[in-house]
């Protein structure tokens, strides 16, 4: 492969995969306000105006950004300066790095060269995600601990307990998916969901692993630390690990939440909803199940697929947001009960059943 093209494409892909979740996260912060308002028969953010227009409340996001930048960056006197500063970076870093292995499309052919639409096609991509997501908890714990504040520390401890509990469940459900699809590579996972049962039913993971999807999605929401699983933060009353944060460091934690939302949505899509796959769309174009087809240029097909991926991710972001504004928060004991007594046994059962089915089918 042409080295120039290689580096250019890699940088472009990296840029895309950085910009995509960040942009989405930015809009999620807006959607959080606006969607909740619409769901609750309110109007939502519309006070901040640019040129006399509220632009659907988007001006607020700009104002927020300005505010976050200009606020005092505060470190408690008795806090650990280095760790206190490091914590939000860690949290954000591990959230972002996982996107490297997420395939946001299949491939593009430019100047005869084929470019896979994935930053790093690791053969153990799914494990990479799992590993990185697990490391993200350090951000929370360090933030809580380095603040030297009882409430922040308790928040951090709650965060770590919650992360560990639900990561186990995530791991177990992923195993189910891997068993069903038979690969660890993210791209392969998606490709293997491109087939159709009976010639028309897309063979998406959710069909193979309905329970696995449910468990993964629940555990995934728990991973994002958002309502109804927002014990680590509980900003309105119980106060969380980010208590002693202000300014951009606080904003980074805030952003991490949204990035994780995008991440969980992306992984869910990849594992269970066919990633960038569009039903009946093949490399050369649509092939309708009832016969006939529609020929499309492969690059156009792949751009459509990228769009499909983005749309799917956006949908799941919307769904998570809807759940966040629909359900009340769990109690801590309920959270632990759910994680250990229900999700874990169910996911174990899921593995066993999947393994049996796979064994029998093969």
């Amino acid at each position: 492969m042409n080295a120039v093209l290689y580096w250019t494409s890699t940088i472009a892909k990296s840029a895309y995969i950085l910009v995509f979740p960040l942009t989405l996260a930015f809009f999620l912060a807006w959607a959080e306000r606006k969607q909740s308002a619409v769901m609750q028969d309110r109007i939502g953010a519309n006070r901040a105006k640019f040129l006399g227009r509220p632009f659907l409340g988007l001006v607020h996001m700009v104002c927020d950004a300005v505010k976050m930048f200009v606020k005092e960056d505060f470190v408690p006197d008795s806090g650990h300066r280095v760790l206190h500063t490091l914590a939000p970076f860690l949290a954000m870093f591990f959230a972002l790095i996982t996107f490297a292995v997420i395939p946001f499309g299949y491939q593009l052919t430019i100047a005869g060269e084929t470019i896979g639409l994935q930053v790093a096609d690791l053969n153990v991509g799914i494990l990479f995600i799992f590993a990185m997501a697990s490391l993200g908890v350090y951000g929370m714990v360090l933030a809580g601990w380095s603040s030297n504040n009882n409430y922040a520390l308790l928040g951090g401890i709650r965060a770590s307990a919650q992360m560990i509990s639900y990561e186990i469940c995530i791991g177990m459900t992923i195993i189910g998916a891997i068993l069903a699809l038979g690969t660890l590579s993210m791209q392969d996972l998606v490709i293997r969901q491109g087939y159709h049962y009976f010639g028309w039913l897309p063979r998406w993971g959710v069909l193979l692993q309905p329970l696995g999807f449910l468990l993964f999605f629940i555990a995934g929401i728990a991973e994002t630390k958002r309502v109804p699983f927002d014990m680590p933060e509980g900003e309105s009353e119980i106060i969380g690990f980010n208590l002693e944060y202000s300014s951009m460091k606080f904003a980074m934690f805030l952003f991490t939440d949204f990035i994780e939302t995008v991440l969980i949505a992306a992984v869910t899509v990849t594992l269970f909803f066919g990633g960038w796959q569009i039903p009946w769309l093949f490399e050369s174009g649509f092939v309708w199940p009832w016969g006939g087809g529609w020929e499309i240029h492969p690059n156009v097909v792949n751009i459509l697929r990228m769009a499909a991926f983005a749309a799917k991710v956006t949908f799941f972001c919307w769904l998570m947001m809807a759940i966040r504004w629909t359900l009340p928060r769990f109690r801590y004991d309920q959270l632990m009960d759910l994680g250990w007594k229900w999700l874990l046994p169910l996911s174990l059962a899921n593995i066993v059943v999947t393994a049996l089915v796979v064994l029998l089918v093969n």
Binding site: M39, I43, A322, W325, T326
Partner: protein
């Protein structure tokens, strides 16, 4: 022990009222989501209609655009205090300290002085209300034997850049005016809105 038993019993009773499918919760989650989604979709529809000027009023949201659009206040709503004047313009207050005594938030501070006119024996030299502490209970109005303090200015947005700024002095309190009297029609309209 006893308390724990009570909690247990209460928990048992609460569980007893939930059926199995309700306790599974996931279906209830879906039901909840369905409701919120209904609202979401419906509102989105009207928002879009309004955005393109097809309708003027959004029929579902009760939101009032606060600073521009003021809600009609109930006639007896307790709002920012004011001191009432006599016909000759001097304060009605005689510094009897009834309001200061009855105030549960200890936000009123009065200093009395000898009256400046022969027919006024006692007057307030200073009369400070710390709006930062006031809880709008209205006891001061109830306690006043001279009808000298009222909470009828209709002013609710009380803000200042400092704690000291929240303390209103006698001149400010005397300069406040009662809110415009509502017409009967306005009151009817208000009641209809509140009853909806």
């Amino acid at each position: 022990m006893a308390v724990q038993n009570i909690i247990k019993v209460a928990a048992r009773r609460r569980e007893a009222t939930l059926g199995f499918w309700e306790r599974v919760y996931i279906f209830e989650v879906v039901r909840g989501l369905w409701i919120t989604t209904e609202h979401f979709v419906g509102n989105l529809y009207y928002h879009i209609l309004k955005l393109f000027g097809i309708i003027k009023v959004h029929p579902l949201t009760p939101t009032i655009q606060y600073p521009e659009e003021q809600r009609t206040l109930a006639p007896r709503l307790r709002t920012l205090h004011r001191l009432v004047r006599r016909e000759d313009g001097s304060p009605r207050c005689v510094a009897c300290m009834m309001c200061e005594t009855v105030c549960p938030a200890l936000c009123i501070k009065i200093v009395a002085a000898e009256g400046d006119k022969p027919q006024i024996e006692k007057r307030p030299k200073s009369f400070d209300i710390d709006m930062g502490r006031c809880i709008f209970c209205g006891y001061c109005v109830e306690a006043c034997p001279e009808d000298a303090i009222r909470m009828d200015t209709g002013i609710l947005d009380i803000a200042a850049y400092s704690r000291e700024g929240m303390v209103l002095d006698i001149d400010t309190l005397l300069s406040l005016q009662p809110a415009q009297r509502r017409t009967d029609k306005e009151v009817d309209e208000l009641q209809r809105r509140l009853l909806q």
